[in-house]
Amino acid sequence: MNIFPRIVFVLLGLFIVLNWGLIMAGIIRKIIARLGMRRGIKVFQPYINLIKNYSIRSQLSHGVMFYLGPVFRLSGGVGIFLFMPLIYGSDYWSNFSFTGDLILITYFMFFGMLGMALGAGEGGHPYSAIGISRGLAQFTAIEVPMTLAILSIAIQYQTLSISEIVAAQQGGIQNWTMVTNPLATIAAMLSFLGAMGHSPFNVVMAPQENPVGPPTEYHGTFLGVLQTNRAILHVIEAVLYMNLFFGGASNWGVLIIKTFLIYFWSVFVGMVFPRFRVDQSIPWFLKIPLVIGIAAIVVFII
C-alpha cells in the first residue's frame, strides 16, 4: 500500500483504539462499582474527565523536561501502536509492522516510563521521585518474565515478527500459543497483571498512600495527555498479548472481545486480591513468573 493511504488508516486505527480504551475504562469502572453494590460512574465519564482536563485554564511548568515527560509517555504508547499489526491478514490494519517489530515494541514499553521518570523528577515533588523509583523498580521486575516469555515464543516460532507469530497460530484454538506453549503464556499473563497497574500491583499509583506517585505534579493538559496515553496503552498492550498468545484477531469485533477479556483478567485478579507492597511485589515477580519463564525457554532448548 502507498504511504499516504497507510497513514490515513494508522490515524483511523489510533482513533478507534483510543475510543475503545476510554469506553473500556468506563465499562470496567462500572463493573467494579456493581461488584461493590454501587451504581458507579457514567460509562462515558472518562471522556468528560478528559475534556475537563484539557479545558483547565492555568497551567504551571517546572521546566522543559516537565513538558516532555507526558510527551515521551504518549510517544511510548503511540510507538507501540505504530508497529503493532491489529487485524490478521488485513493489509489496511497492519500499521507499520515489519519483521523485527517484537523487539522494537518491547523497547517502546519501557520508553514511556523513562521519559516520565525524567519529567516527574523535574517536578521537584519528593513523592514524584519516590513514586517513579518504585514504579521503575517494579516495572523492571515485570519486564523480566515477560521478556523470557517473548524469547520462548521467538524460539518456538523461529521469528521476531508479530505478523508471522499470528499467522502460525491460525486454524483453531489448538494452534494458539496458549495451547502450544502454556508455560510462556502463564509467565506472560502473570507479568501482564503488573503491566496493567491494577491491584495487587498498583501500589505505585496508589492515590492515598503515596500521592498518585509519578503524576503528582501533573495537571490540566499534562494529565490529559497522560490519560489519553493510558487509554491507548491499555488496549494496545492487550492487543500485543492477543497477537502473541491468543491467536490474533481476524476482524475488529474479535479484537474488541479478546482485548476486553485479556484486560478483564487483570481487573478480575485485582478485585480478588489486595495490594502488595513494592518490596513484596518485586520478589514475587522474581520468583514465580521468573521460574515459569525460564522453564518455558528450557523446554524448547532441550
Binding site: I48, I51, L60, Q208, T216
Partner: protein, 224 residues
C-alpha cells in the same frame, strides 16, 4: 521585593526560610535566599473564560467531573468518606477524590477553620488550578457556628477564600453534601462559578484579611 518590605517579611520567617549559607558537596559556600530561590514570586493573572457555546460545553464538562481534594478540616471531614460508600455513591454524580491539589478542582472546607489550618487551606487552594471551586460545609464556615467566640478559629470563610456553595448544618449529612454538589453543578453550568478569577481580582483584599489573622506568615505571598 523592596528592601523595606523584605525586612517586614523576615520578621515572621521560619529560620530555614531566612537567607543563609549552604555548604556544597565540594566544600563551596552557596548563598541561599529560600523565598526567592525556591519559590515563584510572580502573582497570578485573570484567565478570561471563552465565550458562547464553547464555554457552555466546557462548563458542562467541568460540572460533570468534580475532582475534590482529599483534605478535611474540622469535624465535617468525617462526613466525606461515606459519600463514596455504596449507600451514597457520589461517583454517579461525577465526583471523585484526588490526593493532590494540582489535579483537584473542588476544595471542601469541612467545618471550623483554625488559624493554623487556614494557612494550609490557603496553600492548598492556591496550588489548585483555575477554574477551582470552594464548598463551605457546616455552620462554622458561615458565621463561626458554635466556635464564633473562639480565640483561634475564623468566623466567616468568605473573607479569606471565595466560596461558591454553602451547606448549612451542624453537621450536614451526606445527603446534604450531595445536594450541595448538585447546587455547585448548576452554578458552574450557569457560568457564575468564577471564584478563581474573583480571588485574583480581589487578591489584595483577600491577602490583607489573611495576613491579619495569620501572624507567622512564613511563605511566599502567593503559593504557586
Amino acid at each position: 521585593m523592596s528592601e523595606k518590605k523584605q525586612t517586614e517579611h523576615d520578621k515572621f520567617l521560619a529560620p530555614e526560610n531566612r537567607k543563609h549559607t549552604v555548604i556544597g558537596p565540594d566544600g563551596e559556600e552557596i548563598q541561599v535566599d529560600p523565598l526567592n530561590d525556591y519559590f515563584c514570586t510572580d502573582l497570578p493573572k485573570v484567565e478570561a473564560p471563552y465565550k458562547g457555546v464553547l464555554e457552555k460545553f466546557l462548563n458542562w464538562a467541568r460540572a460533570e467531573s468534580l475532582w475534590v481534594l482529599s483534605y478535611g478540616t474540622g469535624c465535617g471531614s468525617i462526613e466525606l468518606p461515606p459519600l463514596f460508600s455504596p449507600r451514597f455513591d457520589a461517583y454517579r454524580f461525577g465526583v471523585a477524590m484526588r490526593p493532590t491539589p494540582r489535579q483537584s478542582g473542588v476544595l471542601i472546607i469541612s467545618g471550623y477553620l483554625a488559624v493554623k489550618t487556614l494557612k494550609r487551606v490557603i496553600r492548598s487552594y492556591e496550588q489548585m488550578q483555575n477554574p477551582k471551586y470552594v464548598i463551605a460545609l457546616g455552620s462554622c464556615t458561615i458565621n463561626g457556628g458554635m466556635y464564633w467566640d473562639s480565640y483561634n478559629t475564623i468566623n466567616r470563610l468568605d473573607h479569606y477564600l471565595p466560596v461558591d456553595v454553602y451547606i448549612a448544618g451542624c453537621m450536614p449529612r451526606p445527603e446534604a453534601i450531595l445536594a450541595g454538589f448538585n447546587k455547585l453543578k448548576e452554578r458552574i453550568k450557569s457560568g457564575n462559578a468564577e471564584g478563581a478569577n474573583e480571588y485574583i481580582e480581589k487578591l489584595e483584599w483577600y491577602k490583607a484579611n489573611q495576613k491579619k489573622i495569620i501572624k507567622d506568615w512564613n511563605m511566599p505571598s502567593y503559593n504557586w
